[in-house]
């Protein structure tokens, strides 16, 4: 198992967002089945850790992942990028075979 990592830039932004939001223990990553290529990412604030959660810590940010999602995400690095006026998070996921162009759903 390689776990989940955040780029330094992503971690900085997450820390900032959590501080401004005023609550939350960290970030929750997961996958759901849906979307045009089968799987979709879940990226949410976490207000509490669940007993079954796997917890990774990276640049001071806690990342919570449910055990069922981990096989699809293992080795992923979450990055924060800017593209023109748009900015946001990008999953760099080594498990992905093909993506649906939109980057929101994928196949393993």
């Amino acid at each position: 198992m390689m776990g989940i990592t955040l780029s330094e830039r992503a971690a900085q932004h997450v820390t900032g967002f959590l501080a401004k939001r005023g609550k939350g223990v960290g970030l929750r990553l997961g996958v759901r089945t849906s979307g045009c290529s089968g799987m979709a990412y879940k990226l949410e604030f976490a207000d509490e850790a669940l007993p079954e959660d796997l917890v990774f810590e990276c640049h001071g940010v806690k990342v919570l992942v449910d055990p069922k999602s981990l096989p699809y995400l293992d080795g992923t690095e979450l990055d924060f990028v800017r593209e023109g006026l748009n900015e946001g998070f990008k999953f760099k996921n080594p498990n992905v075979k093909d993506e649906c162009g939109c980057g929101e759903s994928f196949n393993v």
Partner: protein, 622 residues
């Protein structure tokens, strides 16, 4: 490829199902767009990193439409086709617009909203505003990477129905789905999280580029109620620039600067004013077109001194609003600062001194309204859990009602009712056999229709003929979440129905609304008199009609002498009803009632006899 944002717990959306929502501050001087990203409200910037889009639209001769800084840059050269502060014209007729004669535009006379003739043809304020909204829309779509699900647009609290409708129409024209229009002071309060704060009275002090607005809000059970608004439509940050500019002319001993020099000096004046917010003194270096140099020094104290009267001027509307709301300054729990000009330390001090507390000023005062709108849009888009106590409501600014007989107003929805709201009231017919009824929808606080604003008229036809007072007509007023009104009328027995969406052609001014509210209070006793008079007149008219109908049908039941007595009483009442003494009319009504009592009794007997005629006694046994 889409970039992801962090959602609230459990609120992740399916791919391609992002509920992108923004808040738009469609301002008189500048406009902004904001959104909630990763749980944080942020203002969206353009390619040059600028948040503010000047609310300036230019229709160029080559068919191009320029919006914002590019339009502003050529404003002086092409004033007629470069529309500044179009918000002043929204939902207003030519007569409603102040200082028309000093404006460089070619106004087109029309019955409804004012229109402007440009090199690209005649444009309405709605179309011009839509151009501003289109630019903000494409900025938002580029920033969020997708299409907008919906927007919240802010409007001044004093905007009436016509001005709100015009704003909504502009959004539709720009291809935006409007979740809701939100009052600007309410948006500012939301940005500061006051909707989660202690219940109580809050004030919003909004000193923009060219206008000053002051509002008093009361928060109770998550509802912001606008208690009073006031302001000065001709006072803003630009007046402070102008003061500094005059000071420069004075000290540099320039009497008649060229247009270009004047422009440069005004820009410098603004720059110096802004820099004195962060520094105690600023140096002013400027080269004029004739290569002369201006080299002056201005301190923060001097700036405060030369603009003290402008700050003092804002305090008049503040006091007035407090008076209108019957509140003392100690009743105010917090003051929110809005508008770039509130950055000036001496403005902050004046407000702090007046209210005896430091105002809320840690958010950027240029952005606070847009941020509040974004927070509201995010909730309405469904990006937050609904179990968080987040039902934010607004109220209608002026009462809505119907004209009844005698030019009186029957209030159906009182002012400050929370919206959306729906209220129904039953009305009936006034004359025997009446088959149609016309409705006149009015807005205002006065008792007489002529003192309120007329919003719409419509008719209900096809009422089955019945005796006066037998028809039951249910009139329903519905105000949607944007404060827009729909009225329907339905006759209950036959089900015939008529309805109208109220889209008035142009609206009331801020001063006019304030005046109408004040008049409502000032004239309460006059209005009661007027109401009593009018009610008695209606009653007199009704009784005279009824008596005449009865005389025509059964006049033979009276002797000539009796008939003459009734006729005399009728004509006496008719004369009294022309006068202004409601007590005398009332007495006349009672007199006619007494004079016709015997006649009425005989008519009863007659109809009972007719009903019984030809029937056997058995058929009457039950």
């Amino acid at each position: 490829m889409a970039l992801l944002q962090i959602a609230e717990p459990g609120m992740s959306t399916a791919p391609h199902q992002h509920r992108l929502a923004v808040g738009i501050d469609l301002g008189t001087t500048n406009s902004l767009v904001a959104t909630v990203r990763n749980g944080v409200p942020v203002v969206l910037l353009d390619e040059q990193g600028r948040a503010l889009l000047p609310s300036v639209v230019r229709y160029a001769a080559d068919g191009k439409i320029e919006v914002g800084q590019t339009a502003q840059a050529v404003q002086a050269r092409d004033a007629r086709n470069t529309i500044v502060s179009v918000k002043r014209f929204m939902g207003r007729g030519l007569r409603d617009v102040a200082h028309v004669e000093t404006m460089p535009y070619d106004f087109v006379a029309s019955d409804g909203m004012v229109r402007l003739r440009t090199v690209q043809g005649v444009k309405s304020p709605v179309e011009i505003s839509a151009e501003i909204l289109k630019v903000l829309k494409s900025r938002a779509e580029a920033s969020l990477g997708g299409e907008m699900a919906g927007v919240v647009i802010t409007v001044p609290a004093y905007f009436d129905d016509a001005q709100r409708q015009a704003t909504k129409d502009a959004a539709t024209l720009a291809g935006l789905n409007v979740y809701r229009l939100l009052n600007e002071p309410t948006a500012a309060a939301i940005a500061y999280g006051l909707d989660n704060a202690a219940e109580g009275v809050y004030a919003v002090y909004d000193l923009g580029g060219g206008t000053f607005d002051f509002s008093i809000l009361r928060l109770s059970r998550g509802v912001f109620e606008v208690l009073a608004t006031s302001g000065d439509a001709q006072l803003g940050g630009d007046d402070f620039d102008q003061r500094v500019y005059c000071w420069m002319l004075d000290h540099a001993r320039i009497s008649l600067p060229s247009l270009e020099d004047s422009r440069r000096m005004l820009a410098k004046a603004r720059e110096i004013k802004e820099s004195l917010t962060y520094r105690d003194e600023a140096n002013m270096l400027l080269q004029l077109t004739n290569r002369d140099r201006i080299d002056l020094m201005l301190t923060r104290e001097e700036l405060a001194g030369m603009t003290r009267h402008l700050v003092a001027k804002t305090m008049q509307p503040v006091k007035k609003a407090l008076r209108d709301a019957s509140l003392k300054r100690e009743d105010v729990k917090g003051v929110v600062m809005v508008g770039g000009a509130t950055r000036m330390p001496h403005v902050q001090h004046a407000v702090a001194e007046f209210f005896g507390m430091e105002p809320l000023n840690n958010l950027d005062p240029d952005k606070v309204v847009a941020l509040g709108a974004a927070i509201q849009a995010n909730v309405l888009a469904g990006n937050r859990k609904t179990d968080e106590d987040w039902l934010l409501l607004d109220v209608i600014p002026l009462s809505l009602g119907l004209e009844t007989m005698g030019g009186l107003v029957e209030r159906v929805i009182p002012r400050n009712s929370t919206i959306p709201a729906a209220r129904a009231q039953e009305f009936t017919t006034y004359k025997d056999g009446q088959t149609a009824m016309s409705f006149h929808v009015v807005q205002g606080e006065r008792e007489l229709v002529s003192d309120c604003r007329s919003l719409a008229r419509f008719e209900l036809r096809g009422i089955p003929p019945m005796v006066a007072g037998a028809a039951r007509i249910r009139v329903t007023f519905q105000v949607d979440a944007d404060g827009l009104l729909a009225v329907s009328a339905r006759e209950q027995s036959s089900g015939v129905e008529a309805k109208i969406e109220v889209k008035p052609s142009y609206g009331l001014g801020q001063d006019e609304i304030a005046r109408m509210l004040r008049d409502g209070f000032d004239h309460a006793s006059d209005d009661l008199q007027a109401r009593a008079l009018s009610e008695q007149r209606v009653e007199a008219g009704r009784l005279i009609d009824a008596t005449e109908v009865a005389l025509a049908a059964d006049g033979d039941l009276l002797s000539d002498a009796e008939r003459a007595a009734v006729d005399a009483t009728v004509s006496r009442l008719r004369d009294l009803a022309q006068g202004a003494d409601h007590c005398a009319i009332k007495a006349g009504v009672e007199e006619l009632n007494r004079a016709t009592t015997e006649f009425a009794a005989r008519r009863m007997d007659k109809s009972v006899r007719q009903a019984l005629a030809g029937r056997s006694v058995d058929s009457l046994k039950v």
